[in-house]
């Protein structure tokens, strides 16, 4: 059981790195969707035998939103806005990977230091921090607005993982709240991307520099 959890957690981190290293946007979106699936099946695994109905329902909901609804929205936004398919990084792919490795290592080191008990899954805190850090890296190092949404989703997934350290999961209401929050965020960003594209004929965030004071 612990090994299954560990495999899942390592998979989550690897998928994050995959998002960072993918050259095409569609691939990145699909990788995020895959991460959503893994995250969905994680809570029952962490909790082991203490699986109740609401945990299962929640896992299903998480998969439906993270793995189906959001990727679909993003892909649609990409198609509608006719975004070019390349990821267009500020930092090159190999350098990004190197940075991601460093960040992940630092995250796991830091996780050992943090006084957070995770009895069932020793890798949990580390992988949560690593996902957070890589999400941040995606947001900072990629030009396109769509990739920033993806980074945002990765950060949210990291927070989701962090929530698993609390025994018995977070209260349902809080989790639902977070999910809804993210959904609305993605919605708004998707629409905003679409409209900015329509108005200004491009969607690279650096071009928005002209809007500063």
């Amino acid at each position: 059981m612990t090994s299954a959890t560990s495999i899942c957690l390592i998979l989550v981190v690897l998928l994050s790195v995959g998002v960072l290293s993918a050259t095409r946007l569609a691939t990145s979106i699909r990788l995020v969707a895959a991460q959503g699936v893994v995250l969905g099946i994680l809570p029952p695994l962490v909790l082991g035998g203490r699986v109740g109905l609401h945990v299962v329902a929640f896992a299903a909901g998480a998969i439906a939103i993270k793995a189906v609804l959001m990727p679909w929205l993003l892909l649609r936004a990409m198609r509608e806005a006719e975004v070019r398919r390349e990821a267009e990084p500020f930092i090159g792919f190999s350098a990004s990977l190197l940075l991601a490795g460093l960040l992940a290592g630092a995250a796991f080191l830091l996780a050992d230091e943090l006084p957070i008990p995770a009895p069932d899954a020793p890798l949990l805190v580390g992988s949560a921090l690593a996902t957070l850090a890589i999400g941040a890296l995606v947001m900072v190092s990629r030009k396109k607005a769509v990739t920033q949404v993806l980074g945002y989703l990765l950060v949210e997934n990291g927070i989701f993982l962090f929530g698993q350290t609390v025994a018995g999961g977070m209260p349902t209401l809080v989790e639902l709240g977070i999910l809804l929050d993210v959904l609305v965020g993605v919605f708004v960003m998707g629409i905003a991307i679409f409209h900015i594209n329509r108005e200004f004929d491009h969607m690279s965030v650096p071009e928005l520099k002209a809007l500063r004071d």
Binding site: A136, V140, K143, V205, K209, A210, L211, R212, D213
Partner: protein, 664 residues
Amino acid sequence: MILFLAALGVLLAGGLGAALAGRRAALATALGAGGALLGGGLGAAAALAGILERSSTTLSVGWGAPFGTIELNIDVLSAVFLLPTFLVPALAAIYGAGYLQHWRHTRSLGGAWFAYDVLVASMALVLAARGTLVFLVAWEVMALASFLLVTFEHERLEVRRAGWIYLVATHLGTAALLVFFLLLGGAGGDFRTPISGQGASAVLPGALFLLALVGFGTKAGLAPLHVWLPEAHPVAPSHVSAVMSGVMIETGIYGILRATLLLGPPPWWWGACLLGIGVVSTLVGVLLALAQQDLKRLLAYSSVEHVGIMAMGGGLGLLGVAGGNTLVALLGFSAALLHMLNHSLFKALLFLAAGAVKHATGTLALDRLGGLLRRMRDTGAVMLAGTLGAAALPPLNGFAGELLLFAAALAAAANAPLELAGPGTLVLITLGLAGALAAAAGVKAFGAVFLGQPRGPEALAAREVKSPMRVPMHLLAAGCVALGLFPALGLVLVARAAVVLADGAGPGMMVAVDAALGLARRAGYAALALLVLASLVALLRRLLLRGRSVGAADTWACGYEGAVPRAQYTGSSLVQPAVAFFKPVLTSTRPAVVPPTGFHPAAASFRADTPDVFRHGFWQPVFRRLAGWLERPRALQHGSTHLYLLYIFVTLLALLAYMRGWSR
């Protein structure tokens, strides 16, 4: 106190009514000016009652806000300052009703009248407030209302710049005042209660005095904090300049005097400090006034000079208290207060007259005016009265105050230890120098505007202004003449306040008061004698000229007929000897000369500017350096979303690391 509250109420009601009237110019003017007139009259009555009554009246209202109650108090010191604070704006309001007619179609006058009435009410509240909070609120409202009035013609660039400079200066002053009141409150005092002996450390009163000097000195326009004054006063509408220059800057003098009452017995260096600043202000003000080319700027610098004279009086008074010399203390303080009263009259009059010139000709540049005395007889007459007052010549009212200051300085210089004799001598020298230079500046202001031939088409087409503008000028001029002929009257008004200020000096107060009154009476006799002498000379001239033919020729034409107006004396040439003499001090006077060359000279030109030494030599470098430093962090403001995100993440990481290290 009821009269005072009624005055405030009428002022606020008039202001609000004017604001509601908005663009209906006639209604707004009637409400605003009427409110200022009625409120000013009521308030002046309240101030007179405060001067004449033996006991001060207090109003105290409980209030849930911090810093306790709303407390208003009119003691004799407040009342002395309240008198001009209500009188001058009431007269200036009549003038303003005529002056603002020019904008009645293009501009909403409601806002201007609202700001004007609020300005008057807030000045009165500043003088009467005792609680810290009420005082500071009134102080800030005063600054903001006057800022709004300064920027009345905000479509002109130089007006906006001047307003900006004024706003920065007044806020710097208020910053010092905030610290002043915080420290004062920490020592258990406010504007009502002196700081208690046990709550105060040894250095605290000194620090408080310096803070008050900076905070109130900024508003008073004492050098080197005067730089806002020659910017803001010239660009404001003239009735506002009159109120600001005649009354508002004197709230700064009031603040300094009030602060010295609260901080316990003054040590020697307080008086020396105030006196030194007064000396610098007097000299800087009069020298720069001499070199100005714009009538209202000249008057503004003259205000700096007169505030400096008041500060010298206050400084001598403090020195007298510190040295236990009652005569010096009383003469110094009464000189400062009497000069304050006189200055508020003649400076308001001068600004109103300058406004009339502007109204009639559209310009204030001395080198475009001239010969206005024939075209604007009334304005010229009152301007002459104001100029003589500002130059402290009998029989006008500036004379008595400076005479008292001379007497105080002589008393200090004659029979006292060096701590008193040194400053006394300094005041004597400064006052003598400044008196002569002020007379020269007066000759320049009056001569260039009213005498000679018109130098420009504007002056040629000038017409006398209408009666709403003339009547207040005549009233102020009458006040100047009355106080000039009967200076003892003015001294009686301020004497009790001076006694309160000089209280700590020791015994012999009655003797000192008698001496001051005797001096003032003699100043009155001198003025009367001069008047009689002048009448006799005029009579003699008539007698001598009777039966002879008298021809009139152009002024300053050296006997030639039909001289070109441009060939006559200009304002600059009238004072050129004095300015040339002070070239080492007025270093920034750099004439730009394009001399005529060759046998058939083409166009030649001459131009001289005298920028303010303090502004260009001190404040501008300071602010430029400051701006350079503050510009640097703007590199962070990059505009790139990615960088902003990076800032956030780096900050979060740093916080995490910090927490980690902290918990270890």
